[in-house]
């Protein structure tokens, strides 16, 4: 009988096919035992943007004032009569020069003019209180000299900034129930993330392997962050209603901080939950 194929060629082809089969089986076993059948998908979380709207829609929000005050002070003189000419801010001292009814007067913190008590000063503004109301007077050059910044309970004022490692322009001013934060300060930290960590330490707070939130590990004394009222050990619960329990949520706030006018920070200090209000302008 005549062979159609030479037996050794058939044998070689068979060896190759067996080899292919072995490789295929090997990969099959590896896939079955060791390799996953589907990939890891990232499920999007709510970004920090939403919190901005919450602040805007809250009825008792402390919005950035836009109109100069004309009420409240007409009886015993108006804040409009006070013209802010100069500001001097040092670590412990705030001195301003004002012009009132044609006369120039130098005021330090606690002193008053026309019944308006100087509470503090920022880079280009000074804050006064009168009858439990706060008033903001802008430097002469600025447009819109005076602004009402809401109710005040005459608490301590910390107007000046003294960053020993690096001086950052901008102020945090306590006006009682909330704090005024200079936008230039916010802009600086939004652009220089490294500078944030020189002044404040924020660590992870974990529940087992799951990230529960973030805790403040240190706050540099006299830094703008110290003036924000946060302390070592504070747990950041939420910012503008957005729970800060993931890096995404925290980064969302960081990314949008430049566009915020108001900020409500909820922290847990000891067993107490506190709400810190800030106005950025």
């Amino acid at each position: 009988m005549k062979h159609l194929f030479k037996p050794y060629i058939f044998k070689n082809i068979l060896i190759l096919l067996v080899l292919l089969l072995i490789v295929k089986l090997l990969w099959f076993v590896i896939t079955w035992v060791w390799l996953p059948s589907s990939g890891v998908e990232h499920v999007g979380q709510k970004s920090g943007k939403a919190l901005y709207y919450r602040v805007k829609l809250t009825p008792n929000e402390i919005s950035a004032p836009t109109k100069p005050i004309k009420q409240a002070t007409k009886k015993n003189g108006s804040i409009d009569d006070i013209v802010l000419l100069a500001i001097y801010n040092a670590v412990d001292t705030t001195v301003i020069t004002v012009k009132h009814k044609g006369k120039t007067k130098v005021l330090s913190r606690g002193e008053d003019i026309n019944g308006f008590v100087l509470e503090g000063a920022g880079r280009n503004f000074a804050t006064f209180t009168k009858a439990k109301k706060s008033y903001k007077v802008m430097l002469l050059k600025s447009k819109g000299k005076h602004q009402n910044v809401g109710q005040s309970s005459a608490q301590n004022t910390a107007p000046s900034v003294s960053n020993k490692p690096k001086k950052v322009a901008g102020e945090v001013v306590d006006v009682g129930d909330h704090k005024l934060v200079d936008r230039s300060l916010v802009d600086h930290y939004a652009k220089n993330m490294d500078d944030i960590y020189k002044n404040i330490g924020i660590g992870e707070l974990k529940d087992g392997n799951n990230l529960k939130g973030f805790q403040i590990t240190f706050v540099r004394k006299d830094s703008p962050f110290a003036k924000l009222g946060v302390q070592r050990g504070d747990i950041i619960k939420s910012i503008n209603g957005q729970e800060i329990n993931s890096y995404n949520a925290a980064f969302g706030v960081y990314k949008n901080i430049g566009s915020l006018d108001n900020l409500t920070l909820v922290i847990e200090r000891g067993k107490e939950e506190m709400e810190l209000e800030y106005e950025i302008n």
Binding site: K24, T31, L35, P36, D194, Y247
Partner: protein, 171 residues
């Protein structure tokens, strides 16, 4: 002679079979799992499997849940003795513009069996061309900047020697 020829044919078929039957997509999923341990996730629009390659299109890179980069194309290519990863059009989140160049046109990472202890790295972007090498034995990376345009944000991390500006780190 016949035996040698037969051996090489078998070797070629084995090499080809390994590449042909390689579950490239599943291996990529394994890589995703390893990256996940470091809180890195890659979401790709689609995966294209080739004979020797795997291509990811329109990927988003998340680090700790934050979307930090988008990549138009990532190409994994292997011949077993030569492996290359090519990243095209990487755009970093604008918030990182102060720490790194946000637009990188191309990154090539290659490993060859004839240089087993080193991985080469080349990149092109707004910063010009960079060439580098990672030593697997010394666990050290050095990247040389051939040009120094648009590298202000990196200057703090760069060093200079007789060859010019370079970046180095250990892993």
């Amino acid at each position: 002679m016949q035996m040698v020829k037969k051996f090489f044919i078998l070797l070629f078929v084995l090499w080809f079979a390994i590449l042909f039957f390689m579950p490239k997509q599943a291996l990529y999923y394994k890589l995703e799992e390893i990256l996940l341990e470091n809180d890195i996730k890659i979401n790709e629009k689609n995966i294209e499997e080739g004979l020797f390659s795997l291509t990811l299109h329109d990927s988003k890179v998340y680090v700790k849940g934050i979307e930090l980069a988008t990549i138009e194309k990532i190409d994994f290519f292997t011949l077993l003795f030569y492996t290359k990863v090519e990243v095209n059009k990487l755009v970093l989140d604008p918030s990182l513009k102060n720490v790194a160049p946000t637009h990188i046109d191309e990154i090539k990472i290659a490993h060859a069996i004839w240089n087993p202890l080193n991985v080469s790295l080349d990149a092109q972007g707004s910063f010009g061309n960079v060439n580098g090498q990672a030593s697997l034995l010394e666990r050290h990376i050095r990247v040389d900047f051939n040009e120094t345009k648009n590298t202000e944000m990196l200057k703090g991390s760069l060093k200079q020697d007789e060859k010019g500006w370079f970046y180095e780190t250990s892993f």
